[in-house]
Amino acid sequence: MNRIRAQAWREHLFLLPVLSFVLLIFAYPYIRTFLLAFYNVSFGARESYFVGLGNFQALLRDLDFWSAIGRSFTWAAGNLLVQMTVPIGIALLLNRRMRGIHLARALVMLPWIVPSAAIAVCLRWMLLPRIGMINQILLNTGLMDREMHFLGSSATAMPTLILINSWKFLPFGTLLILSALQSIPESVFESAAVDGARGFQMFRYITFPLLGSMIWFVGFVAFAWNFNIFDLIWLTTQGGPGSATETLPVLIYRTAFRTFRLGEASAMAVFVAILLLIVGIVYFRVLTPKK
C-alpha cells in the first residue's frame, strides 16, 4: 500500500515543472484578480481600500462596459460564422493524396503562424482608401463602386477586423478538421460510393455527421481564441473609430493601464471570466449534440 502511494508520488513529481509555471502565471493571478475586484486600487498607489461590491455596482451602471460586452459577442459570432464553415471546405480540399499536397498544407498554415503585429500594421496600409491595394482590387473587379475607409468608419471597422481575424484563424480550424477527416477510414467512403452516394450527398450524409464533434470542438476553441484577441484590434484601431471595435479585452486594458482604475478593471475581468464559464457550460451541456 505504502509502496503504491510512494510510486504515485514519484509519478506526480514529473508534473512539477510544468505545473509550477502554470500555478505561478495562471492560477495565482486568477485568485489575485478575484480579490482585487473588491478593492479600490489605483495604479502605483500604495493604499487600497476594501469597497465590497462597489466595483461591480459601478460596472452595472457603466454603459461602456455593457456595450463592450455586446461588441464582444458580435465579434465572437461574426468570427464563428466564418471560422466554423470555411475551414471545412479547405480541409475537404486538402484531404486527398496527390503530389505537392504537403506543400499546400504547409502554405495554408502561414496566416496562423505569422506575428499579429506585422499583419496588423501591414493590413492597415493595405486597407487605406486611395493608396491601399484592397480598395484597388475591389474597385477593379467591380465589387465596390467607391473608395472605402475600411478601418476608419464605424460601420465597416468591425466587419473588416472580423475578416482579418478569421483569416488568421482559418489554418488552425482547417488543421483540426483535416485531422478528423483523416481519422475517418477510407472504407466508409468506399461503401457509401458503392451504395451510390455522390458529391454533395456524400458530404451531407457521410462526412458531415462524422465530423460533428470536431466541428463543435473547433467552435469552442475558436470562441475562446476570439474572445482573447487584443493585439490585432489594438494595433489597427485601438478600439476605434469612436468605440466601434472596443471589445472587452481592449476596454479592460484601457481601464487598467490607460486610466489606471485597477479595481474596476479587475471587476470587469472577473465578470468576463464568469461569463465565459457560463458560455462554456451551456455550450458543452446544452448545445453540443450527444453521441
Binding site: E11, V18, P29, V108, P115, M133, A180, L235, V272
Partner: protein, 282 residues
C-alpha cells in the same frame, strides 16, 4: 482506362482549385514582400502590385538609421534572445512532464494533467493586472526574463501534451533493457528517450519559438524602456507617432515574418503531424 482519365481530370481540377484558394489566402504576404522594396512615393501613391523603381531604402532606414529609441536590430536581437530562452525552457519543462504523463497511467487520466490545458480557454486579459504587479514587486518589470517566464507558462502545457503522444510511441522494452544494464533514469531519458522523440521536440520547439517571437500583449505589459522592446513591440512604435513611416514598417514586418517562415516550412510536416496526433486522440 476511362476511369483513369476521369481521375486525372478530377485531380487536375482539384489542383487548380487548391492553387486558387492558396493564392486567395496568402497573396498578402507576397504583396507585402514586394512592396517593402518600393520607395515612399510608390507606397503613398495609388496601389500598383510590383515596385517600379525597386530600392533597399526601407531596409537601410530600418537597419542603419538607428536612434536609441528606434533601434530595430536591437529589437530583433531582444526577440531572438527571448524566443531562444523560451524554447529551451519550454522544451525542458515539457519533456520532463510529458514523459511523466506518457509513462504514468494515473497521471494521463488524472485531473491535474488535464487541468493544464484548461487554462488555454480562460481569458488572458484576466491575468494582466496581477502579472504586472507580481513582476514589478520582484523587480523583474522591464526585464526580458519576465517575458521568458510568462511565455513558458503559456507554451509549456501545450508542448507537454504534444510530446506525450510522441513519448507514448517509444517502446517500453528499450528503457527496461537499458535499465537492466544499469543505466540511470536520467541517462536513459537523455540518451534514449529524447533522441527517439526528436520529431516531437522539433515540432514543440518550433511552436514555442514561433509563439514567443510574435507575442505582443505581455511584451506591451512588461517592457517599459525602449532598449528592451521585442520586435513586435518595436514595430508598433513606428505607428505610434502622428506620421506613420510605412516604408520601414513594411520592411520591419518582413524581417519579423521571414524567420517564422524559414523556421516553419522545413518542419511543417512534423508540426502538422504532432498537432493532429494530439487533436485526434482527445
Amino acid at each position: 482506362m476511362n476511369s483513369l482519365t476521369a481521375k486525372r481530370v478530377n485531380n487536375l481540377i482539384a489542383l487548380m482549385v487548391i492553387i486558387v484558394v492558396l493564392l486567395l489566402l496568402i497573396w498578402p504576404f507576397f504583396y507585402i514582400f514586394v512592396s517593402s522594396f518600393k520607395p515612399l512615393r510608390e507606397i503613398m501613391a495609388r496601389a500598383v502590385f510590383f515596385p517600379v523603381e525597386a530600392t533597399w531604402g526601407n531596409y537601410e532606414t530600418l537597419l542603419f538609421a538607428r536612434t536609441p529609441v528606434r533601434d530595430f536590430p536591437r529589437f530583433l536581437l531582444n526577440s531572438l534572445l527571448v524566443s531562444l530562452a523560451t524554447t529551451a525552457l519550454s522544451l525542458t519543462v515539457a519533456s520532463i512532464s510529458g514523459y511523466g504523463i506518457a509513462r504514468g497511467k494515473r497521471l494521463k487520466s488524472g485531473l491535474l494533467s488535464r487541468l493544464l490545458l484548461l487554462f488555454y480557454v480562460f481569458p488572458t486579459i484576466v491575468l494582466l493586472i496581477p502579472i504586472h504587479g507580481m513582476f514589478t514587486s520582484v523587480g523583474l518589470y522591464d526585464n526580458l526574463w519576465s517575458l521568458v517566464i510568462v511565455y513558458t507558462a503559456m507554451i509549456a502545457p501545450f508542448c507537454t501534451w504534444l510530446l506525450v503522444s510522441f513519448f507514448e510511441n517509444i517502446p517500453k522494452d528499450l528503457e527496461e533493457s537499458a535499465s537492466l544494464e544499469g543505466a540511470s533514469l536520467f541517462r536513459i531519458f537523455i540518451r534514449i528517450i529524447l533522441p527517439l522523440a526528436a520529431p516531437g521536440l522539433v515540432a514543440a520547439g518550433a511552436y514555442a519559438f514561433i509563439t514567443s517571437w510574435g507575442e505582443y500583449l505581455f511584451a506591451l505589459l512588461l517592457i517599459g524602456s525602449s532598449l528592451k522592446r521585442t520586435a513586435p513591440l518595436g514595430l508598433a512604435t513606428f505607428t505610434a507617432e502622428q506620421y506613420i513611416e510605412w516604408g520601414p514598417l513594411l520592411a520591419g514586418s518582413i524581417l519579423i515574418m521571414v524567420p517564422v517562415f524559414l523556421l516553419f516550412l522545413p518542419v511543417s510536416g512534423y508540426f502538422i503531424k504532432g498537432f493532429t496526433a494530439g487533436a485526434v486522440k482527445e
